[in-house]
Subunit: 215 residues, 2 copies
Amino acid sequence: MTATHKGRSLDRQMNTKSKAYEEVLGEIRKFISKNELSSGDKLPSERELADQLNASRSSVREALRALELLGLIETRRGEGTFLKVYRPYHTVGLLSAFILQDPNVKKDIILTKNIIEKEATKIASSQLKQEDMQKLLSILENNELDEKQRHYNFFMVIFQHTENNLMQRIWQLMEDFSYTMEEIGYNKQFYIDLIEILNTNQQESIEYLFEKLSR
Amino acid sequence: MTATHKGRSLDRQMNTKSKAYEEVLGEIRKFISKNELSSGDKLPSERELADQLNASRSSVREALRALELLGLIETRRGEGTFLKVYRPYHTVGLLSAFILQDPNVKKDIILTKNIIEKEATKIASSQLKQEDMQKLLSILENNELDEKQRHYNFFMVIFQHTENNLMQRIWQLMEDFSYTMEEIGYNKQFYIDLIEILNTNQQESIEYLFEKLSR
DNA sequence: ATAGTTGAGTGGTCAGACCAATTTTTAGCG
DNA sequence: CGCTAAAAATTGGTCTGACCACTCAACTAT
């Protein structure tokens, strides 16, 4: 009875029965790395992808829509699909509406974010120049920024001097999640102290300053 | 009822010309909050949603797939779609996979992983009991483990005492990625020293021990 | 009462058809 | 030859309808 059996070409085992759109996701990732695409570059069209990956256009679209919602790609009707600079703020609103208030997750995010900020500051401390300090000060003095924006901009400057993109991305993501929840600590004095420490190059005090936040 | 005019029922303004799947996303969110659904609860079927939201099943699926990729829902063929406990870990993993295309992220991974291991150790240090120390020792003495496995098992014990799932998840992810690249540092003496430090409760030395690795 | 069958419901995937916006090509004119 | 305007091709956006594979509950025959 032949059992036609046409499903995905490669379900090497039963255990890896991934869905079509997940495989498409993986293939797109491979394609990006193989061709060394970066933000702004164009991806093949949906029809082309479907053809090359041996999947239907619907499946390809499911993968692309998911990527779009995550903010990794941008699609322009009539033009195509493009890689995007990852900017988190977009997805948050939607996400937070779905997220149930799990206090454990909240605590993890705050703690981990705090650690990453501390380490980033330690790394960046030797790289910050006088103009960077000026930039940090002007962020503090800019009264048009609310607390969240101030924090984000402040540490954005710092992360840019860590030369560690991965850490910055992880941080941005957590910043994103914590955007909707009331942050703890981080009063204005914290930033002032931090700038002072950076100015006088007392790197050992960074640890101490951040430690105070956790309590 | 007029019935003609079939485009999206509500494009409140021209400026908010959202796509169908985005509106579906919003409608699903409303549905969830209106019916006070929480994790484990079942969503209407795809066909039902398509019908109620006046959209095609394709559009509904694009929205659902995006939610699934975000880790907000879970689908079981033959059963239905269910709300899931939200875990940011999933998203972190997903994003990282796309971020790691950059060739010089290798360095970033090693550095970041190192930082996380250090901080996790500091956090866990006060939680580790005598039996845990015994476990760590036995991992070191198990000659059936290769370097990678030893490292993984060793820190897995430590991360289990941090009570920070997010951090552990991030670490595991980076472990995965670094699996194919030759690791630096981490000779056997490192673990021995670390155990000694933990035994004698010299938490200040943790920082120093890890610092040596980076050079 | 039990075991086996059947059928309805659900997600997974696909093919094909239009529409709408944009780009590229072509045709036409000066 | 050069420019502009129309036509064609390309691309994303949406919808319809069709199967398949899987799950579960109702039904049936033993």
